[in-house]
Symmetry: D2
Subunit: 371 residues, 4 copies
């Protein structure tokens, strides 16, 4: 069996999530590779060593370029701050390595465009971590749509709201800088846009409105110095899909009571679907002639679910979506199918977000394909 | 005590709803008038007599002008098809009578404008039946907003969806004609626009997208002849409120599983409110620092509720919202307060809908006050 | 058409609810009688006059016996405090009048037994106000059960909880006296027992446990004097139905957050039903092979609902259940069907409650039919 | 740092769940041991090798006694069929090893009693896998109760229902044999009893009713031969807690639509809690004076949650409850706290279940401590 050596850059929350996911994919699935956690990179060598020991990595590097160059590394996983995605992914592609990069692909559409071109030129497998798509019940939703169970899809109403910036004294962070892909649209909304595309395909045109509600925040917690904030706190947009469906998307990080509300409602000529990431194991469905919605609970009839539990109602969590993402990536690496967002598709998400930003700035409809 | 004679035009579902509401208001509230159901008009004299007997009206007229001229009638209630609102209301105003007209005010903005001017000139009390506003829990929502309990309001996301036209073989009806104020926006959406204005005030600008999904329908049930449909099946719009709040509204009569889903979510800097007309006795609230939403059940601490039940959880229904509308109208007639939508405000709702239609047609932002 | 003169005793909340229901039944249904609100009785003649005027009664009596004797009264409706049900109903039966008595039938099983015998002897129509049964969606639940859609019923788990006595400083009232049919079981639980019998039939045996949690309460609001309380604050019981189904019932008036939670869950070999009076227009259903519950919203396909609204999702309220109760009573009076709890059935409810009390006292299973 | 060698017996779903949990605990927590997956035992040596490779175990044994005797094994984890818990745990205790046994402790109260005595004599740490207790939101519920936030607890109403045996043609399995701890009470209800004890403490007396609804099932899928079934399909019981609280528990594996409905409602003099394992990241709370329930979503303010996710709403799943169980067990092994069900407590659960069975058989109240 072929070797697949994983090289992971970054040891924050998301680095650990990747480490867990690779370990668990190995334990849970019959993988078409001999998977090894080959190398871990962190600028702090002490931290790298400690995490490598806890997470099961064989070697550490304090220089990420060395990890990329390490011959035992076949897949480079990037979990560093957003502005580092570009140099690291470009270096990995230059080295001919497969790349698994956290979302967003990049901090500007220009970078994203270069990364997409480089990926195409390198001819390697790429993947961006839009993990919410790997939920078995989202796969089910997509299949229902593609099999025509909901008829012709006529509308998508989506929202991704949280409240972690709702307090105006929550301090400035990198998330407040456009140059780091900050703002509600980039940070949260991109997940929603990726989901909308995953389920309904291309978006042709958008018209958006966005707002910075709190345009000053403390430079740090309790700091009397204020920094000016220019990124969006909330955005609302109209969407026209190429399929003819219409819809709205909204994103906010100021919405009290919402914690991870990536929700959508899809209306077709034969039925309606409702989903909310805060209850990720459930899908509400109404079909022709039904007087209300039925709550479907995820169970082992859904392939990804069965890998984790033999019985419905036992609940997958956030980390299992990540494991499923990793499994699908590995299947793609083995040329055995596997779905997920590659650099081409992630660029499409970035382009759609850019169109929304342009539309909001110029207060007019914008054709997405013109960008 | 002064006499208040009610003259009701129309004996359909909505006519009966008015009759029930006047009778129940009399039984439930201490009214500042001696209320009498003075006269009922229907073109069919037999039906008029029969309904008058069941509903407690003293006289009948088969000619609505006679009802308006009847000296025992002080308030003219209009529940006829939409295109008759204009001539009847204009005649009643000309006769110096107070007018209580079902929504929509009129079938064109031009008519609405004339009615508003005529009402102003007549100096009488007018009211349009946006009954969902008279829900005690909606009053509570409005008070919470006005008292600043939710902080500065930053977004309104509203939807009014039903599924009664979802079946493409549902036949043509007057609801499919723009000239009768048909289409999802006029028929359903206007309730939502009225609600948005009731809660958040003026809307400055809109950008909308609308769609006729089924552009042919049978001329009547089972009829092979098809009629072309031009009105909207669904509409989505962005809103900019004068207060600075932003938002979206959607309306559809094709949404399977939705029966009376007049829902909204209001986000403020200190809290969030969620409401759904399908559960009209409940309000979901989240405030600063709460890890989720609290479900408030209407109870006798809300004035309108207390009139009907001494205990929470006993549920008001649709007809009681109508009774509360009537009671508020009567208080206004007695110059003792009472809220509700007068012709001026109903014209604002029509103007907002017209702006949405224009925006959808021209695919651009439209300033509402320019219309 | 025959005359049906209503004589109503009592002008409290429940008296008004009856008045509304008779008026609305007249307006909403084609009744087989010429219905008149013939007479209203209240010990306070001023109040009687005032209510009669608001509610549309033709005459008043300050002596209830006179109302019973009034030849214009054919049906005597009793809405006075519980301990007066017995003398009033017995007098009405002695006069050969039909009787519509609020729940509970009586304040002791002995009284209930006499009332049942007297009703039998008089051969008149009797009815007790278990209004929650007259919900169209409850009728649907019963039909689903009787048509076998849920298969063989194997369990009933019911609860009626509120929180209006949860505050230990809520003062003593008649509800705290067994001699006035006080206590959580008699006040709330009896509705649940009536519902269980309505849906599943006879109960063979019970085993119960009950508790007085707050055994002292202020004699009146803010009064330092304490009164000893002996009635149950909460009760839990096991039930064995004659059909073979088993189950539990619980009742409490101390349950914070519950306002009118008359809820049940019925399990059959082919499906499960869930209902909660706090959302009285909904029924949750799961059938063989479904991965979760479907929410059914009441709509005009349910006969009682269609009388009030032409569209689903418009919501019936508490008062409409009362109107439906009155309509069914009137159909029974006309010998045209109509369901509801007569004195015989109400006695069964009382006997079941008595068995629960005995079982709780003696901490053993009790056969219901032995009492 | 001390070594902690894990020896795992069993490679089924639960064996894998343990393997995942040990691996993830190592990655997620700072553990006070150098944790190694020392040995895996399965009667099939091929399967043992394959699983050991996927799951990261160092050695395999095809004889479980050898695993127990392996000096590298300090903790023996038992995930074999129920009737093997007794011999394996007794052997491990005899060898002075710590034991982590899946629920139920044993297949008879006699075995359980011996295991409890042996554990006491051995003086080692023992743990039984009642994993649902390790949910951070359940910890929160317990703390709320213990801090008195709900006042004096007066009732517990619990249910554990699924539908995996609802189909009468679901074949016989070991779950249908009392000798293998089969039946709804032992299989599902024991989780509920453990939860009730975890939250409210000792139960003094019970009165129960149980039923075998389908007393024949096919010997295997599609097999025309029928086997007689004697275990309970559903059970309902009244509970009297030593604290004075009262309640009910129900368990069924025939309830259509219920997938993992371990639910409870706890009522105290100052508030009410509602929980459902099908939405394991949520708790509904109502406190004095609130007009309804608040939905709390688990978040990083709860210690166990923070280990997995930095943000609320990201959802823990079933497998993470197992990881938390393992982490708490390891803390106990290090004498650093850690909660969980030891053999003494698991015996209490078995005794309570035995009391319920006796009560159902003899149709009378049974004192638990007499058994």
């Amino acid at each position: 069996m072929r070797e697949l050596g994983i090289g992971l850059i970054g040891t924050g929350f998301m680095g650990r999530a990747h480490a867990l996911a690779f370990n668990n994919a190995k334990a849970v699935f019959d993988l078409p590779f001999n998977l090894t956690l080959a190398a871990l990179a962190d600028a702090d060598p002490q931290r790298a060593l400690q995490c490598a020991s806890s997470w099961g990595f064989e070697t550490v590097h304090s220089d990420w370029q060395q990890l990329i160059d390490d011959p035992k590394v076949h897949l480079v996983a990037i979990t560093t701050p957003n502005h580092l995605h570009y140099p690291m992914a470009m270096a990995a592609l230059a080295a001919g390595k497969a790349v698994y990069c956290e979302k967003p692909l990049a901090v500007s559409l220009e970078q994203a465009e270069q990364m997409r071109q480089a990926a195409k030129a390198a001819g390697v497998v790429t993947r961006v971590g839009y993990n919410y798509q790997h939920n078995p019940i989202i796969h089910l939703a997509r299949e229902m749509i593609q099999r025509g169970e909901l008829g012709r899809i006529i509308s998508f109403q989506g929202e991704f709201s949280e409240d972690f910036m709702a307090d105006p004294t929550s301090p400035w962070s990198w998330r407040c800088e456009a140059a780091h892909a900050g703002g509600a649209l980039a940070d949260l909304g991109s997940h929603l846009l990726a989901m909308a595309r995953y389920l309904l395909g291309d978006v042709e045109a958008v018209c958006a409105d966005s707002q910075t509600v709190h345009n000053q925040r403390p430079a740090s917690t309790g700091n009397p110095e204020q920094r000016t904030i220019a990124v969006d706190d909330q955005v609302h947009a109209l969407l026209r899909f190429s399929s003819g469906a219409r819809g709205t998307v909204s994103s906010s990080w100021l919405k009290h009571g919402r914690k991870n509300h990536l929700g959508f409602e899809i209306s077709g000529t034969l039925g309606t679907l409702i989903f909310d990431q805060e209850r990720l194991n459930e899908l509400q469905v109404s079909r022709v002639g039904q007087a209300g919605f039925q709550r479907l609970l995820a169970g082992p009839d859904l392939p990804g679910y069965a890998a984790f539990s033999p019985a419905a109602g036992h609940q997958l969590g956030y980390n299992e979506l990540k494991t499923l993402e990793v499994q699908e990536l590995i299947m793609t690496l083995a040329d055995q199918g596997g779905s997920g967002t590659d650099f081409e598709e992630a660029w499409e998400v970035e382009r759609l977000a850019a169109a929304i930003r342009l539309s909001a700035r110029e207060q007019r409809w914008v054709q997405v394909c013109g960008l």
